[in-house]
């Protein structure tokens, strides 16, 4: 049997019908004999009735419109990946950055492409033969897939006094480096155009790819077997230095020594060209020193400028 206090605590539940039937029976039984609990229950019922009949307040008429005005200013945050991309900025900033990046990269490559087209156009317009030496610089990977620019198809008889840069067979393992090589070509071409014959140029345009391919084939084994340091030239900028020597005394050895004195590394080259060309890898900071060394032996016809961001370059020295 429940006590009076226990029953009293059940009255609140009793008056809202929250008791089990058994509990209800206990309470009913107790109530019949307990006026105090009957009074408590009566007051509870009155209280509950009043509470339940509490009038609701009405919303102010402006409430909906004010809520909606706030909402419309606030974009909903969604869970989709697109929304996460914008979170928590609530702006399109990330997408804009991405777009800018894509445009920049695309623009960069477009410029590069049009630059190489221009380069090709120049020798054609001027009907100038390309630099004479097509001997490839050493390549670790064959680059036959990269067509040699027309300017690379020189005629040997043309380069008497002029040191010519040649680019054929330059280590271009990627299309990208091939492109950058091409962009340097017009300068060399212009610098060396005085001894060119028009017919030679015409021939060379046709001959270039074939010569290039042959040269590469021959140079690859040579570079593998000659014990030179490997040529890590893949992504390095390539510049050319053209020399004129007064008494025809400039030898490969002299040039090689100049390179060594200025801290450069001589890279392997096809032997057929070794008496007229030398390819070296050198820190840009040592470039001036190299010029100085070379000027002791010859006059520099073409002195290339190098971008400040570049640290190391490949130098083709021709004479």
């Amino acid at each position: 049997m429940l006590t009076h206090e226990e029953i009293k605590k059940m009255l609140s539940a009793y008056c809202s019908g929250d008791l089990s039937s058994a509990e209800r029976a206990w309470v009913d039984e107790h109530l019949s004999s307990c006026p105090s609990c009957r009074a408590e229950l009566a007051d509870l019922k009155t209280t509950l009735r009043i509470i339940r009949n509490t009038p609701a307040v009405e919303s102010p008429t402006w409430l909906t419109s004010r809520i909606m005005a706030n909402i419309i200013e606030q974009p909903v945050i969604r869970n989709g990946w697109l929304q996460r991309l914008f979170f928590p900025l609530h702006t399109k900033l990330p997408l804009e950055i991405l777009a800018l990046l894509i445009i920049s990269v695309t623009g960069y490559y477009l410029t590069q492409d049009s630059g190489s087209d221009l380069n090709k156009a120049i020798p054609q317009l001027q009907q100038q033969p390309a630099p004479p030496q097509s001997a490839p610089s050493p390549v670790k990977e064959k680059t036959e897939t990269v067509p040699a620019p027309a300017v690379d198809a020189p005629k040997a008889e043309f380069h008497t006094n002029i040191a010519e840069k040649k680019r054929a067979g330059s280590p271009t393992t990627t299309q990208k480096s091939a492109v950058s090589d091409k962009t340097t070509e017009p300068d060399a071409t212009i610098a060396t155009m005085h001894n060119r014959s028009e017919s030679g140029a015409a021939k060379m345009k046709k001959a270039a790819p074939a010569r290039e391919g042959r040269a590469l084939e021959s140079s690859a084994p040579a570079s593998a077997g000659n014990g030179f340091a490997p040529a890590p030239t893949v992504d390095l900028p390539r510049i050319k230095i053209s020399l004129i020597m007064g008494l025809d005394t400039l030898s490969a050895k002299t040039v090689r020594q100049a390179v060594y004195r200025s801290g450069g590394t001589v890279l392997p080259i096809a032997e057929a060209r070794a008496d007229r060309q030398l390819t070296a890898r050198i820190s840009v900071t040592q470039l001036e020193e190299l010029f100085a060394q070379l000027e002791k032996q010859a006059r520099i016809v073409e002195r290339p400028a190098v971008a400040k961001s570049v640290k190391t370059v490949i130098v083709d020295i021709l004479w």
Binding site: D43, L48, T54, M68, Q74, V76
Partner: protein, 203 residues
Amino acid sequence: MIADVKKPKTTDDSKLVNACKRGDTSAFEQLVNRYQNRMLNIAFRITGNYDDACDITQDAFLSAWRKIADFRGDALFSTWLTSIVINLSRNRLQQISSNNSKESFSLDSEITGTEGSIKHDAASNNPTALELMEEAELRSFIESCIRTLPVEFREVLVLRDMQELAYEEICGALGLKDGTVKSRLFRAREGVRDCVRSAMGMA
């Protein structure tokens, strides 16, 4: 009692909520129209201040809109919205009580008084003094007594006895177990009754 306690179909709610997740403000406006009165009344009965209740209702809907994507539909939208209103109301009360901490002392004393039995025994079957009281007067007593309840008791009383929400929904909105909700509810009623009795005794 005004009819704003009628529950709309939950399927409609979930459709509207899904539309809201797609950014449909007109769907949200329907939810606002459907629930703003209930939310205003809950906030008003908990905070006791109409202006505060309007602010809370606005903030609650704004908050719901911002977080609508997080609403997974495990509970009813109305339950979720109610929990937001409750939290905002608590925050508001905390602000008020920190502004003038004096008011809070009477709340606890009233309720602890109900633990021990305040006896206004009417030892007969005669109508009690409370029953004989004029309804309007009694109502004002009761409303002021409700305001003196500790907020966790008041919340349950408002949601159950005024807004007539199901226990399940109250549990969801308050994050409480069924037993806790009921014991708070029953003690809250007793507290109001005893408060009115003692107020009348003092009068």
